[in-house]
Symmetry: C2
Amino acid sequence: MAVTLKNIAQRADVSVSTVSKALNDSPKINDQTKKRIENIAEKLDYVPHGPAQALKSGQTKLISMIVDRIDNLYYSELTHLIKREIKKYGYNLVLCSTMGDKEEEKEYITSMIQSHNVDGAIFAFSRNEQLIDKLFQNGIPLIYVSRPRGGNCSIPTVNYDLESSIYDLLEYLIERQGHQNIGYAGLTSSSILYDHDQRYTIYRKVLDEYGLPAEEKYIFTEYNDYEGGIEVGRQIINNQDRPSALVCFNDELALGVIQTLSLQGIDIPGDIAVTGIDNITMSASTNPPLTTINLPKKKLSFCAGKMLVDLLQGKEIPHKESTKTFPTELVIRGSA
Amino acid sequence: MAVTLKNIAQRADVSVSTVSKALNDSPKINDQTKKRIENIAEKLDYVPHGPAQALKSGQTKLISMIVDRIDNLYYSELTHLIKREIKKYGYNLVLCSTMGDKEEEKEYITSMIQSHNVDGAIFAFSRNEQLIDKLFQNGIPLIYVSRPRGGNCSIPTVNYDLESSIYDLLEYLIERQGHQNIGYAGLTSSSILYDHDQRYTIYRKVLDEYGLPAEEKYIFTEYNDYEGGIEVGRQIINNQDRPSALVCFNDELALGVIQTLSLQGIDIPGDIAVTGIDNITMSASTNPPLTTINLPKKKLSFCAGKMLVDLLQGKEIPHKESTKTFPTELVIRGSA
DNA sequence: GTGAAAGCGCTAACAT
DNA sequence: ATGTTAGCGCTTTCAC
């Protein structure tokens, strides 16, 4: 059985409340008794019962981070940074990976957040925006990180400005490199995900502005990971008609595409230029190194940590400060 | 404020315990009252208070998984599979990533396990073996997964037999391919980690048996990730004298090495053969595809999930069944 | 400086 | 079939 305050109280021949005060270093307890109690606690390996403390205090000092896939390197890097950040404020992070499944996410929301097993949550991904919005209205500390704030969402959001970088990227491909047939691989508006939709939307918009067609045959949807990239690569190989450049939804997808094409002797970027988004660590040193858009993970994490902790401490976040946006940056390397 | 049984009881004009029984579908409650109560609960969006339930029942239905780095693809794939597995038994998984830091892991052990915030834990990595052993003696359900059971450790362990596969791998490199200078990159015995040490130890042992030297200059220690591989690659390039084959601690390290060498025009496997261990998804489709050792992740996860749940249900695991070992398998692809 | 008592939200044994 | 009561482990008044 686990050691409780009661056990310690018996051995020390004092009351439970005295033990509680002693271990919480209350000034009203005699230094000698305090020492005595501390020694006994130490000897018995006492650790406070989390659920009991949580029930009493109303807080668990736990924050959950909700991501799509734990095996996406962007998410795992971001998670690590955020964890570091909130630890400074005395919070621990528990990771919930939904694998993009709406029901699974909902279960996590219920069993972790609504049930008060954690004090708050950071969503790096979501398919339950309405539910989340409702929870936030009910006063549960929540924020979005790296996800554009759409519609009537009132939840504090830490975000990056992808638009100008995608603009820079396409400008680079079109004006500097003379590409005319620029394809896209990733999730499109068929997806529920606002963020994913956004990348595609910007791509379409910029092509429009340049008067270039976004041809059906150069657009590969429903893919967002390395394996998806492999598949896109296969399709490109099988098609007669290929784009001269391919803008990918994220780095992992891009690396999958490059892999497949390279194996078939297609030269990157000679035959097809390929770009990513995220700038995961690996992409600096792939073959060829990936031209991509850097997302400011450190700034995002720093800001997200602070914002959530503010919320947890009951600070009202003024509406106009509830969205922070950091610039992204085009990183030109060898793949385009 | 959150909705409690009390709130529901007031609206339904019944006692708290009636509400509790109704929502727990007790047969003693009138069907009509039950319906009425359920409706109110639904309308108010009632979710049971986790800490209160945990305090009462002594269980949280949460399991924590402790890994080294969340951004290691082997760990994240394994974590995902285990999560799936334990969900079948009604448990949720919370991921704790220690980044290999002993103190950080200790904090997690205290704040999650000893404090009863989770019912049990799966360690895919640890630097606090002694503490963990003590906890297990005290009856906390714990298991190791993919970590050799060393010394006097009595904790149930699900493991793979790497020895025969490393043997197969070296046999293949030496007898089939005629390699004489086989290097090693990864962590060595300088590390505290039993598992890491083991890989190196087996490598040494097999070379010994073949009467081949394990030359200092071909051994690169203190690396275990992609960036480490990049660094090893640099060192190999700078050295006059190169091994003809390099056995890497894991796939990510191997991919880092291959990347750096390829960029310098060194042919893999022509100039240097490179092998990994893990068989992460990506390695089937890298360039060249990686020769590696497959670890039976599905079997490990399945077995680990079952073992921990048995423990959680109070089943004694007979000593001789407390270690399960699954075979691994040499996967020959293009990099060696 | 220390102890007694109440209560956080929930469940279950025991009335009625 | 429903209500009363006690208690899980802890903290926090309020007495003494």
